[in-house]
Amino acid sequence: MSLRSSAAIAAVRLVNNASRWSGRGSGTVAGGRAGLKIDPDLLAWLAAGKRVALVSGTNGKTTTTALLRAGLEATGVVVASNATGSNMPAGHVAALVGARDAALACLEVDEAYLGQVVDATQPEVVVLLNLSRDQLDRMSEVRMLAERWRTALDGAGATVVANADDPLIVHAAGTASSVVWVAGGLEWRDDAGACPSCLGAVHFDEEGPGWSCGSCGLKRPDPDWTLDSSVAVGPEGRTELVLRLPGAFNLRNAVMALAASSTMGIPSRSAAAAAMAGVADVAGRFVDRHVGGTPVRLMLAKNPAGWSALLDTVAEDEGAVVVSINARTADGADPSWLFDVDFSVLAGRRVVATGDRWRDLSVRLKYAGVPHEVEEVPSAAVALAEVEHGGRVDVIGNYTAFRDLLEAT
C-alpha cells in the first residue's frame, strides 16, 4: 500500500467515526470525500483486484443493486456495496473502505458519474437499466448521458447487461465489446421517440415490445433474458422469481440482477433468486411502517417514469393515498414534470396533497380530475387521510419528501 493511499484510508475512517460520534449523518460520504481529497486515485486503488459490478440508470438503481448484492452473497462471499444510495465516488470509496476484505463489489452509480467510475474500477459487469428525464434543471439531457456512456464503455472490456426495451440504453451499449440483452421493460417512451443514434422517428409496435428506427435501422435486439409472468427465462433455462417487493418494475429489476449474477458466474440461479426473494427493505421503500400511529406503505418515485410505474402498482389498491412533493436541491427546483404524470388513476380514492410544493400538486390533481384535500404538513396529511377510513395508507413521495417521511416513521 502506498503511503498516500493508507493516509487516505485512515482519513476516511477518521471522518466516518467523527461524524458518527457527532451525530451528523452516517458519515459515509463525508469520509469518502476526505479520502479522495488526499488521494484522488483512491477509488481505483481500493477496487484493484476486486470483481466489480456497477449498476446505473434513471430508475431502479438502488433496488437492482440490493437484489444483485443479495444474489452475489448467495455464494457465501462478502460483497462490498453502497446500500445507502450514496452513489457518487465518495460513496463508493466509503463502501469499499467499509469492506476491505470483500472479493466482490456491487456498486450503484449515479448516471453522470458512470464514465469516471468505469475508468476507476475496471468493472467486470455494468448493468444499464433505463434512461429518462429526471431533474432537468440540474442533470444533463438524457441523450447527452447516453453519448457519454457510449464513450465510457468503448474499450472498457466490461460485459454490459443492458435493457433491450429502451432505445437510449441500446444506443449507449452499442460500443461495449460484450452485451447481455434483457427485456427490462420501458415505462416511459417520451424520451425515446426520436432515435438516439440519428434522430429519426422510432416506431414502437402496437402490441409487443418491438421497436425500430425508420431511418438508421437501430432496433430492439433479441433479448437473452425475458420475463414470463414471474419466471425469468435465460439462456440456461427458467428461474421462478418470488419477490417481497411489489410491482412489475421490481420483477424487471430482478431479471436484470439475475442476468448480471449469472454473467459473473454465480453457479446456482435458484440460490441467487432465493436470496433476492429475501430482500424486503430497500432503503426503507415499500415497507409497511407507521407514521404517528397510522399504518402506511411508504413509496418513492423521483421522475415521470418512476411515478408511472408506481401508480400502476398502486392502481388496484382502494385505500387512502397521500402524495408528498418537494422541490429542494436534491429533487430539482422545478416540479413541472408533475404534468408528465397521469394522476387520474387516483380518482375515486381519498387523496391528500402535501409537501413543500402541495400547491403545485393540488393544481395538477385538479386538472387530472382528482378530487383531493390539501395539508401542508406531511405527518398531518397522513393522519387526515386515515380519518373515517382506517386501514393502511399508501404514501408516495419524491426524493426528499420520502426521506422526511421515512425519518418520521
Partner: protein, 236 residues
C-alpha cells in the same frame, strides 16, 4: 365554431418538461365553461392537423432542430396562423417559431418564422430559475410567474415583448424583457405547464382561439394561490 381543437405539436420531440400540461389546461378550462373542446397530440411523423390553438413545448437541442425542420417542411402551422389560429410556444418552442436559433454546435438554424425574433447562443451561464414578469399592459393580464431553463438569448424584431422582467432573466438580450407576441402568436421562456400558474394567460389564449370577448369566471383559487406563493419565493 363547433368544437375547439387544441393541438399539442410534436410531443414526441418537444415535451421536455410537462409541456403537454398547457394543452390539458386549455382544454379543461374550455370544457368547464361548456365549450366543447378536443385535445390532439400530434406526432412529428404525421401531417399537422387543423386546429384552433397550437401548443408548442420545449425540447433538447437535436429534437429541436428536427422539429423546426419538420414544421417548415409540413407548412401547415404557417397556413393555420394565416387563417387566424392561435399559437402558444414555450422555451425551445418559442425559439422554433422565431426566425432562427442556434443548434447544438452553435450554428444558426432556420425557424418557422411566425414571430419576428432571433435567438443566438448566450455567452453567460444558463438561465435557470423562477421568473416574474409584468405583462404588456395591452394584454390585460396580472403579473406572470414561471420557471425558465435555457441558454439561448432572444432579440426582438417587429414582435412586441410579452412583458418586463421583474425577477429572473427572460429573453436575456440586454433589455430586461420576456417573451414575444404578434397577433395571436405568443412565445415565452416561462417553460413547461406555465398556464397552471397563470390562468388569466390561459384565458387570453382561449379568447383568441374562440373569438369570444368574455369567458365565464372559474374558481381559480388553487392556481392563484400557487402563483402568489411562487412570486413570493422571488420577493415579488
Amino acid at each position: 365554431m363547433s368544437t375547439l381543437r387544441v393541438a399539442v405539436v410534436y410531443p414526441d420531440l418537444l415535451g421536455t418538461y410537462g409541456d403537454t400540461g398547457n394543452g390539458i389546461i386549455l382544454t379543461r378550462r374550455a370544457m368547464s365553461r361548456g365549450i366543447a373542446a378536443e385535445l390532439l397530440l400530434c406526432s412529428s411523423s404525421e401531417p399537422l392537423p387543423e386546429a384552433d390553438l397550437y401548443c408548442i413545448g420545449g425540447g433538447e437541442d437535436g429534437p429541436q432542430v428536427l422539429a423546426a425542420d419538420r414544421l417548415r417542411a409540413d407548412g401547415r402551422l404557417t397556413e393555420a396562423v394565416e387563417r387566424g389560429a392561435t399559437v402558444f410556444a414555450v422555451c425551445a418552442g418559442f425559439q422554433i417559431i422565431g426566425g432562427s436559433f442556434p443548434d447544438a454546435a452553435g450554428r444558426t438554424h432556420g425557424g418557422v418564422g411566425l414571430l419576428d425574433v432571433t435567438t443566438t447562443k448566450g455567452s453567460g451561464p444558463r438561465c435557470v430559475g423562477e421568473v416574474a414578469v409584468d405583462p404588456a399592459s395591452s394584454l390585460g393580464l396580472g403579473r406572470l410567474s414561471g420557471f425558465e431553463n435555457h441558454s439561448g438569448v432572444t432579440s426582438l424584431g417587429q414582435a412586441s415583448a410579452l412583458g418586463t422582467v421583474v425577477a429572473g432573466r427572460g429573453n436575456g438580450a440586454g433589455v430586461a424583457v420576456e417573451g414575444a407576441y404578434a397577433g395571436h402568436v405568443l412565445g415565452t421562456y416561462l417553460h413547461g405547464p406555465v398556464l397552471a400558474r397563470n390562468p388569466d394567460l390561459a384565458d387570453l389564449l382561449l379568447r383568441w382561439a374562440t373569438g369570444r370577448t368574455e369567458l365565464v369566471a372559474l374558481d381559480d383559487a388553487a392556481e392563484l394561490g400557487l402563483r402568489a406563493e411562487r412570486l413570493a419565493s422571488v420577493g415579488c
